[in-house]
């Protein structure tokens, strides 16, 4: 059964905060939910499906369903694939709606990483285990080595440069493009336009990634309301529907043929494009997960916007800048400049795609006649193991 056209993105909301010392994480989830429901013209009582991931405090979905007073939930999903979870949730919500399991699905994300607990790269490990443990099976062979998001993505960039001749200048163009968009977003964490030189001159964090190759660390949240076609048509909002989705894990599988230059987008992307019946050339706007510049480059290649290994050339010279280049991306400023709430960027990728399809993006970055958009996410680390998710959405005329 295809999900094509079976579910609509009726409401979206990005929490305006980027620093929340005065709010709880549960509160940020609920405020985001309220915003997305108001955007759709629906109420908490209309929600009959609830979706959240590991950032939701408490016991699976139960604590948040209880906190928010969702009285009519008959479908729950707490799939956890890190930052890509919310794109997976969009896919699963469409499946549940198509199967008649719910008709108004609420997806929320929120967190407060700025309020202590920023993870340093060095130390690691915590207290020594007493006796034998029974945690993640890879733990004893990985966590001891001081891997963080920075250096595990750094390893991908290093290998990509080795195999394909990708340069730091090319990676820097991705940040430059994001900053050109962020200057128009009043809520963006970083609003200054930066140059390639600014990126190259920022301090080295994890070779070859500089400070400005990294995303921002922000508190905040977001929510998306997904509905059946019948509910969507009863609302007074532009009709934006999901027409294709794919998801895939990419792992190490015994360490044979380790390949850190491709992502799970090589599987989730074609699945989504096939279901939607469109090709990368048809896409007018792309939300591409941007934890680091290298994340964007690899996913653009793997989704088929250019040949493998040619991502460096593709992203250079402003090709990702709306109104300038061929593939306008992350027109809200993305995780690189605008917002990466609780270190998970998946939901903001969906939200900006919906803004573009509604024609509600900032006029300086709005793509003309934007009727087809993609949102793609990576959760976990491209350098260790990750979950990829792709969603293709269209505006119904």
């Amino acid at each position: 059964m295809s999900i094509k056209g079976k579910a609509y993105l009726a409401g979206v909301y990005e929490h305006p905060t980027r620093d929340a010392p005065d709010k709880t994480t549960a509160q940020l989830h609920a405020e985001s939910a309220r915003g997305a429901l108001a955007d759709a013209g629906l109420s908490f009582d209309d929600v009959d499906g609830y979706f959240c991931a590991g950032d939701a405090p408490g016991f699976g979905a139960m604590s948040m369903v209880d906190y928010m007073g969702l009285k009519n939930v008959r479908h729950m999903d707490t799939t956890e694939t890190g930052g890509s979870s919310y794109i997976v949730h969009l896919h699963h919500a469409a499946q549940a709606i198509a199967a008649g399991k719910c008709s108004v699905a609420l997806i929320t994300l929120a967190g407060r990483p700025r309020q202590g607990g920023g993870r340093p790269g060095g130390g690691g490990g915590g207290r020594p285990p007493v006796g034998l443990t029974d945690g993640a099976p890879e733990q004893g062979f990985e966590s001891i080595y001081g891997g963080s998001t920075h250096n595990t993505y750094g390893m991908c960039a290093m290998r990509h440069m080795h195999e394909y001749g990708t340069t730091s200048e090319q990676l820097a163009w991705i940040k430059v493009a994001a900053s050109h968009h962020a200057q128009w977003n009043e809520h963006a964490f970083l609003k200054s336009v930066v140059t390639v030189e600014d990126v190259l001159n920022s301090r080295m964090i994890a070779d070859p990634l500089h400070l400005l190759d990294c995303c921002v660390v922000t508190d905040g949240g977001g929510a998306v309301v997904v509905t059946s076609p019948e509910v969507a048509r009863s609302l007074k909002r532009p009709l934006v529907r999901l027409i294709g989705a794919g998801e895939a894990p990419k792992l190490q599988m015994g360490g044979k043929g380790l390949d850190l230059t491709t992502s799970g987008a090589v599987w989730s992307g074609p699945a989504a494009f096939a279901e939607a019946g469109v090709t990368p050339a048809d896409i007018k706007y792309a939300s591409i997960y941007d934890s680091f510049t290298i994340t964007v480059l690899m996913q653009i290649e793997d989704l088929g916007f250019c040949k493998k290994g040619e991502g460096g050339k593709f992203v250079a010279d402003g090709n990702l800048i709306s109104g300038v280049g061929k593939l306008p991306f992350n027109t809200d400023g993305g995780g690189l400049c605008n917002n990466h709430p609780t270190n998970r960027g998946g939901i903001t990728k969906i939200i900006e795609a919906v803004r573009q399809l509604r024609g509600d993006a900032h006029p300086k970055v709005q793509v003309a006649n934007c009727d087809l958009a993609i949102a793609h996410g990576t959760g976990g680390s491209l350098g260790v193991r990750h979950g990829a998710a792709t969603a293709i959405m269209e505006r119904e005329s």
């Binding site: 285990p129 004893g140 062979f141 964090i205 015994g254 360490g255 044979k256 850190l260």
Partner: protein, 132 residues
């Protein structure tokens, strides 16, 4: 910036499946797992072969030699720069590790490296790799 990189390593989590590996590490022996059914070596060591799913897997002593697949020198570190990377063992599998006894600018993809064991804080020693 050419000082030799070192990094204190915390005690690894040891479970029932990995205990023989860390017991051998105490004797500076480097073990990998190989599957009798399909013949493939794998990393990290498991009871069930991730390639063919047979449970006929056996420990095998390895010379711990291989080449650097990739690496990244981490500068955001309170204990000084250190190198995270993957080494592709001569037996086939690639494994995450730290590269040691080398300066931050002394590493390269494809460089030959060999295992050595580094003591940890309150746990068994763990494998790290140094250029040969």
């Amino acid at each position: 910036m050419s000082e030799i990189m070192t990094r204190p390593i915390p005690a690894p989590a040891v479970n029932l499946e990995s205990k023989p590996f860390f017991d051998a590490a105490e004797e500076a022996r480097f073990l990998i797992k190989r599957c009798n059914a399909c013949g493939e070596a794998h990393w990290y060591p498991r009871t069930i072969c991730p390639n063919c799913h047979s449970d006929d897997t056996v420990w095998e002593e390895s010379a711990g030699e291989g080449v650097i697949y990739t690496y990244s020198v981490m500068y955001r570190s309170p204990t000084g720069p250190y190198a995270l990377g993957y080494v592709t063992l001569n037996e086939g599998p690639s494994m995450m590790t730290n590269f040691v006894d080398v300066a931050p600018d002394g590493l390269a993809i494809g460089m030959k490296v060999k295992v050595k064991f580094q003591p940890t804080e309150g746990g068994p020693p763990v494998p790290v790799f140094a250029p040969v």
